[in-house]
Symmetry: C2
Subunit: 254 residues, 2 copies
């Protein structure tokens, strides 16, 4: 039986990363591509509920056909699974993202949110990103995507868990292996650039610099720095279970 | 010393819920309001990095002045703390949201994301929502917001933890108290309504019905159903720590 793989991303259906992903896994099964029509970076887990979601079929350079969705990555996965595909896929892969999704970036990531949505729908899902914003080595990340896709098609994933994959930007023979990691503690130090419109109104551009915090041991950041492919199991139960006893001791009364 | 409270939301600065929140806490300190200029529901933890963020000052019915931001709730908090306020606030409150943010809705919630952003910035933060889409009893939710704001201004919150508050839509004398809860397991059963434009193109409206899954004991859903204000400690480390050993046993090789 042919396996079914759904591909999405947040850089948009015309991005180079999604083509690299498609080419790397195309022979593993029946591939469908449903992705945003344009870049949707940093949309987090947004979904479109107040606007119509338009779609059109597109053809990329004779290589793949797919659905371009005027919506978010999470919209794409919902729409693909509910409406566009005949049957649910066996695996969802989101990427390959240009730039890492490690540490706090995970919560802003559209790439990860597509995989989160797949996981909520009960389908094994992974997000994959390359650790570079310029001169990405798509070939390395593609080979890693292919290797992991084979693994996940066989093994699946633990319930309610997606795999967040970050690939060092190195030639394949310089990748040291896989490392299972946790999301590194970090934050962005915001830099807002203030500008004035020709009419005199103020506006801002959001920019920022990632600051790593605390111990890096065992984190996605460390794996990337040392040349390992980082594999982080990610969930969507946001409860801080460790804090429940403390809060209960507050004994709040109205 | 006067305490400083920053108010934001995702229903927009002209929503009734943010006015109810403002009126409920206005005498607790110096209040600033920085909120989206229009509704931003279900934007998740989106931030605006590819567009300029416009702002303008607005006045609501002689009641409060605030900044209306053409951006997401997370943008509002970043911009307020980095640029618009003289000093960081002592407390951030996001809401009062029209409709509950319980179970899986938390990951789509713009209301919660404003509080998450505040927490990332190291500021005690809470999100507050009323469990009704029609005929909300703002007075009850406002009183609860006020009570909790007083508490958080005194106690703070555990590190990396925000408080997600859901208030039953009942008169105050029918609220049974506070319950410390976990995020209930749930998913949306998607319903896509298919339509055709006058020009013959297909588009969809996303709709869905919340399905609760698994045991409801101890969840936000159960608290609301039983008439308790639900208090869920929420974090932003998405690592599924419990899955790390299993993944390490995979012993993946390239």
């Amino acid at each position: 039986m042919r396996m079914r793989i759904l591909i999405s991303n947040d850089d948009g259906i015309y991005a180079p990363g999604i083509m690299a992903l498609y080419q790397a896994v195309r022979d593993l099964g029946e591939i469908s591509v449903v992705a945003p029509h344009a870049e949707q970076s940093a949309v987090g887990h947004a979904i479109t509920i107040s606007d119509p979601i338009k779609i059109k079929t597109i053809q990329r350079e004779g290589d793949f056909e797919g659905y371009a969705v005027v919506g978010t990555p999470a919209d794409c996965v919902k729409l693909a699974v509910s409406v566009l595909l005949d049957k649910p896929p066996d695996l969802i892969i989101s990427g390959i993202n240009l730039g890492p999704n490690a540490g706090i970036s995970v919560i802003y990531s559209g790439t990860v949110s597509a995989a989160t949505e797949g996981t909520i729908l009960g389908i094994p899902s992974m997000a994959i990103s390359v650790d570079a914003f310029t001169n990405p080595l798509w070939d390395t990340a593609g080979q890693v995507a292919r290797r992991l896709a084979q693994e996940l098609l066989q093994r699946g994933l633990p319930p309610d868990t997606l795999l967040n994959v970050n690939v060092p930007n190195r030639p394949m023979d310089q990748i040291r292996g896989f490392a299972v990691t946790r999301m590194g503690r970090s934050r962005f130090a915001e830099i807002f650039h203030r500008r004035i419109t020709p009419r005199g109104d103020t506006y801002y551009w959001l920019d920022g610099e990632l600051q790593m915090l605390g111990d890096l041991k065992g984190t996605d950041f460390q794996a990337l720095a040392e040349g390992y492919v980082s594999l982080t199991p990610i969930g969507f139960d946001l409860t801080r279970h460790a804090c429940l006893p403390e809060l209960k001791q507050w004994n709040l009364a109205l």
